[in-house]
Amino acid sequence: MGISLAAIGAGLAAIGAGLGIGKIGSSAMEGIARQPEAASKIQTAMLIAAAFIEAVALFAVVVSMIS
């Protein structure tokens, strides 16, 4: 029971992170399409933002791994 609940928790965290990172990715694509010369700057900013979102999802993964 505990294991399946933890798996559901990890799955929910993955949904949230997927939505968040998808949004960042799509916005970055749009930005790069509008301004291809700023691509490298946008990529860096995109990675940082993605890392922050990912961290939240990974907290959930760690919590579900421990419990």
């Binding site: 294991i3 490298s40 860096t44 990675l47 940082i48 890392a51 922050f52 990912e54 961290a55 990974l58 907290f59 993964v61 760690v62 791994m65 421990i66």
Partner: protein, 388 residues
């Protein structure tokens, strides 16, 4: 060639410094992995067709990502080939050292080793003081804790052993020293000339760290922090990459070990707070908000001192651990379905994830370094920070 001086003078000093702290990391790591061990006991194991052989996937995976007192090459049972690493214990009677060969690969607490009048057993990769009497052939006593997990209640000596992870840290530090001393010497020898050979591989990466990580975040003060940023970047990267190599010198889960990442995050925290100027501290103790919000904001700002390195620690640990678990789980699918037909799909996905992990190895080193630079940059910023 602006970056040449610190390459020669501070680079390997810092690397050695890092390695020293990671030693403590590996000691603590064994406690962290302790929490996983009991868990695996009550997860349903998948039985093979023969019925008598059981395959426990959780135990298998946590055994592979955990630390160990031996470095396994290949083979099982009597064909076992591997490296027995030294065990260094600080016990009630002082320092004790012996080879892990004495345990004869026993990992369930049934083989007692007597040194200096003290008796030790190994259970789930950890060393315990042995009981006087064996129960069910094992010299450790078990107890169920509040959550119903099986925990070993025996006392433990302080373990400073050269474990698999510590060995890998030494190996990667040696590798970094060889690479960077040779590159630094090449700069000395070929001053003013175009880079050649290995130099040409390393120079763009160092320039990348300088121009894309340090300068945009640290401004004109970037030079002071370049040694740290380069050290942490290459240390994380090379350990991530070695973790992906499935055989001998690689294969240990160094950056997927929370104690190692804790130490790395601690360095960043120390650098942030020791370099923080009056604006940084002013922002924490006197944030630019209406007076009635201050009692709320000051604790929040103080928590952020801890929470940022904490997030750095969890991010690196969880990313690398998750990658290792994913590859191992995909390979375990073959044994779960117990059929050869699953193998091609399983191996295809494992190789696919392996390729992604190669990318993640770089991205995580990059993210750790750039966030460190970002946080340090926020602490050393000259004007009053009013952008958040």
């Amino acid at each position: 060639m602006k970056y040449r001086p610190f390459l020669i003078s501070k680079k390997y000093f810092l690397t050695a410094f890092l390695a020293f702290f990671c030693l403590f990391g590996a000691v603590m790591a064994q406690d962290v992995h302790a929490s996983h061990e009991g868990e695996s006991a009550h997860i349903e194991s998948v039985s093979k067709e023969h019925g008598e052989e059981k395959f426990n996937i959780t135990e298998f995976i946590f055994h592979h990502i955990g630390d160990s007192h031996v470095f396994h090459f290949w083979g099982e049972g009597e064909h076992w080939k591997g490296l027995y690493l030294p065990i260094i214990l600080y016990t009630h009677n002082g320092l004790v050292t012996f080879s892990s060969k004495a345990f004869e690969l026993n990992d369930d607490g049934s083989k007692v080793v007597e040194v200096k009048g003290m008796r030790f057993v190994q259970a789930h990769g950890k060393i315990y003081y042995a009981n006087e009497e064996a129960e069910h052939g094992s010299y450790v006593s078990h107890e169920k804790n509040k959550k119903g997990k099986d925990v070993i209640t025996n006392e433990r000596p302080l373990d400073f052993s050269i474990t698999k992870n510590v060995f890998s840290v030494f190996f990667s530090v040696a590798l970094l020293l060889v690479i960077f001393i040779s590159v630094a010497n090449a700069y000395k020898k070929r001053e003013g000339k175009a880079p050649k050979g290995f130099q040409s591989l390393i120079e763009p990466i160092i320039l990348f760290v300088r121009d894309d990580i340090a300068r945009p975040n640290l401004g004109y003060k970037y030079e002071r922090f370049m040694p740290y940023l380069l050290t942490v970047f290459f240390f994380i990267w090379i350990n991530n990459m070695l973790g992906l190599v499935p055989f001998f010198p690689g294969g240990a889960n160094v950056t997927g070990n929370i104690a190692t990442t804790l130490v790395l995050a601690m360095f960043t925290m120390i650098l942030i707070n020791f370099n923080g100027n009056k604006y940084y501290w002013g922002h924490i103790f006197n944030p630019p908000v209406p007076w009635w919000l201050k009692p709320l904001m000051i604790p929040v700002e103080m928590i952020s001192i801890i929470s940022r390195p904490f997030a750095l620690m969890i991010r690196l640990f969880a990313n690398i651990t998750a990658g290792h678990i994913l590859v191992l789980s995909l390979l375990c699918l073959i044994f779960i379905f117990n059929s050869l037909a699953v193998a091609p799909a399983s191996i295809f996905f494992a190789v696919f994830i392996g390729a992604i992990e190669l990318l993640v190895a770089f991205i995580q080193a990059f993210i750790f370094t750039i966030l460190s630079a970002l946080f340090i940059g926020m602490a050393v910023e000259e004007h009053a920070a009013d952008h958040h």
